[in-house]
Amino acid sequence: MQENKHVITMLVDNEPGVLARVVGLFGGRGFNIESLCVAETVTTGISRITIVTKANPPVVEQIEKQLNKLINIVKVRDLTHEDAVKREMALICVKASPEYRAEILRIVDIFRCKVVDVGLEHFIIEVTGDEGKLTALLNLLKPMGIKKIARTGTIALMREPK
């Protein structure tokens, strides 16, 4: 059966061990985690976890049900096919030898990202966007040489009714 990417977001009690429960569930049942992101919300005691997973439809159904079954999970939602904003941030340290510096800055401009650190041999670029944008940017920067990268993984939020 076809495996597709799913963006699953959940509100959880902000208690010790909650993340371990979620990750343990994925590990123990052989579900896949492509990325995972956790942080507090504005409601005290409630955090949001966003997980990107790759799975076929029955497995996605199990993932959602199993997550719902965990006592500390308040709400689970699969945002894949919903009208939601999905974003990821990356910090990319790219080699910046003299012949490429102008080209890199041009790319930064086109992608509306920012240079947040500069050196004789490198730039660190901060970029935010959906998966497509990040992939496109990385493809363009690869030839110059990417020294290091840190990505947050996807976070997502339902759009409110207009």
């Binding site: 371990a20 049900k65 199993q66 079954k69 006592i71 308040v74």
Partner: protein, 562 residues
């Protein structure tokens, strides 16, 4: 009122109606024990913490009330893990209290420190490490609520030593509310009407019940449903007793060692109504062909059970009892009176299957057949004993040859298949039901895994009866080796066993032995009549096998019959 953590624990146990706990003391729980003895709660001192958990489990299965155990930190806590996993797999309500090192030492590799909440996370329904005495009462109340509600299960509460000693105000309001946990017992009526629609059309329906029926006290509603609709019934190992074994609609157990007619019925029915089951591989055999000609209805309290292993036509999320009661009412309303007529051909077909292969064995003059022992036990206890089992052939023969008429009568480790379960579980069942005859049907291998609990039975005056089917082998594994590994009996022969009669005697119990068929009845009579804990050692046919047998992964209608 100010109270210590230990006092709060006692107050909550009393508030929750706990009358018995099973445990084993140690440094981290010494303060709790000091309070425990001041209460009326009965403490049963086991000989190994695994025994405490299985005993609490047996207590819960026999009574329907949560089992409670209390153990110390470190090794005390790790010793509970097999018991907890056993209870988790069979959804048994239980609260396990573990001591922990003082909070300021947690994480320091302190003496007898172990991260027991980390270890048991995947095998508990939920667990807690209580870091402040102010949370203790709430956590304990939540633990009982979570253990008992929805799909039940074990909950562990880890209490550091300083929390047990700290003081706080006692809150006597037992109300709790867990925002993120609200089990739904009420079935969707639209779905139930669809089920009724399918029932009205079916020509070859089959009811398939599981442990969920026992856990939710649904046996009566289930029985009424079957009788009202004249539908033949099978159950999983865990469901035995949910429908009377003496009823003509009863087909016997389904699955790897199910009856011929139950498995054939599953393969040929046109409607399978599955209630409180989870379609374990030991039931379904090859999953793609299981009930291949049927529309499947699946009713269960746990949404994760539905469509986990099989695709279903009508899923119903709800309590087994609530759903069955609603179904019974819907069917009564419809006043359908031709079920008999409509199912006649199907019931006839099932009778033919029954005639084709009966559960039988040939009891000769010289060697005792294990099945014969169970047959006689059934006869002499008039089918009224609470039966626990160990794991292996003994367990399957118990399931096949003891015919259970009521729920909570058959207590066995189904999901995990834990050898060593039966004796402590019997002790727990006896503590819950002191007036019932409680018998552990055991194998010579399994009984040695928790044999130390003999001392518990004797010390606590819980006289249980142990029937050992002594074949000198890890029989079930030997059977697989015989059938699928060219009779290479790798490491399954136990040619040195203790003398179980002397062993019983050493523990202060009564030991009896039968080696010939004509001694079986006498030994059983004497053992059952005794008011002591008794080991009855039946030296049985060494290489007897359990049939029918569906080889692992085969279609369940393809059974090995002899």
């Amino acid at each position: 009122m100010e109270m210590t953590g230990a006092q709060i624990l006692m107050a909550v146990l009393e508030e929750q109606g706990v009358d018995t706990i099973f445990g084993f003391p140690g440094g981290a729980v010494i303060d709790i024990y000091d309070e425990l003895v001041k209460t009326d709660i009965r403490h049963i001192l086991v000989r190994h913490e695994q025994g405490a958990v299985h005993a609490a489990d047996g207590y819960a299965r026999a009574s329907g009330r949560p089992g409670v155990c209390l153990v110390t930190s470190g090794p005390g806590a790790t010793n509970t893990v097999t018991g907890i996993a056993t209870a988790y797999m069979d959804s048994i309500p239980m609260v396990v209290i573990t001591g922990q090192v003082p909070t300021h030492l947690i994480g320091n590799d302190a003496f007898q420190e172990v991260d027991i909440t980390g270890i048991t996370r995947p095998c508990t329904k939920h667990n807690y490490l209580v870091k402040s005495v102010d949370d203790l009462a709430r956590v304990l109340r939540e633990a009982f609520y979570i253990a008992m509600s929805g799909r039940p299960g074990p909950v562990l509460v880890d209490i550091p030593k300083d929390v047990a000693n700290a003081h706080t105000r006692w809150n006597d309001n037992p109300q709790i509310r867990i925002k993120s946990y609200q089990p739904n017992y009420k079935p969707n009526m639209k779905q139930l009407k669809k089920v009724v629609g399918l029932i009205k059309k079916a020509k070859r329906p089959l009811l398939f019940g599981g442990g969920g029926l026992i856990l939710s006290n649904a046996a009566e509603a289930f029985t009424e449903f079957a009788r009202q609709t004249r539908t033949p019934v099978t159950t999983s190992l865990m469901g035995l007793g949910a429908f009377p074994g003496s009823d003509p609609l009863w087909l016997g157990m389904i699955g790897m060692h199910g009856t011929y007619r139950a498995n054939m019925s599953a393969g040929n029915c046109d409607l399978l109504i599955a209630i409180g089951v989870r379609f374990d591989d030991r039931v379904t055999g090859k999953i793609d062909t299981f009930a291949g000609k049927a529309k499947i209805v699946h009713i269960d309290i746990d949404p994760t059970s539905i469509r986990k292993n099989v695709q279903v036509a009508v899923p119903v999320v709800g309590g087994c009892r609530e759903s069955l009661e609603k179904l019974n009412a819907l069917i009564a309303e419809e006043q359908i009176d031709n079920f008999d007529e409509r199912h006649q051909e199907w019931l006839q077909q099932i009778d033919e299957w029954k005639a084709q292969f009966r559960m039988a064995y040939d009891q000769g003059e010289t060697v005792i057949k294990p099945q014969f022992v169970i047959d006689k036990l059934f006869e002499l206890t008039k089918g009224q004993a609470i039966v626990t089992t160990e794991v292996g052939q003994n367990q399957m023969w118990a399931a096949q040859f003891y015919h259970f008429d009521g729920p909570r009568q058959f207590i066995t480790s189904g999901g995990l298949g834990t050898m060593g379960f039966g004796l402590p579980a019997a002790i727990g069942a006896k503590a819950a039901c002191p007036d019932r005859q409680v018998v552990d049907i055991a194998g010579d291998g399994s009984i040695q895994m928790n044999i130390q609990e003999m001392a518990t039975a004797v010390q606590s005056c819980l006289p249980v009866k142990i029937v050992i089917l002594n074949n000198g082998y890890l029989g079930m594994v030997r059977q697989w080796q015989e059938l699928f590994y060219d009779r290479r009996y790798a490491c399954t022969l136990m040619d040195h066993q203790p003398d179980f009669v002397k062993l019983a005697d050493a523990y202060g119990a009564l030991g009896l032995r039968a080696t010939r068929p004509d001694e079986v009845e006498k030994v059983l009579q004497e053992g059952l009549a005794s008011d002591r804990t008794v080991i009855m050692d039946f030296v049985v046919e060494k290489e007897e096998s359990v049939y029918p047998m569906v080889p692992a992964g085969a279609n369940i209608t393809e059974m090995l019959l002899v």
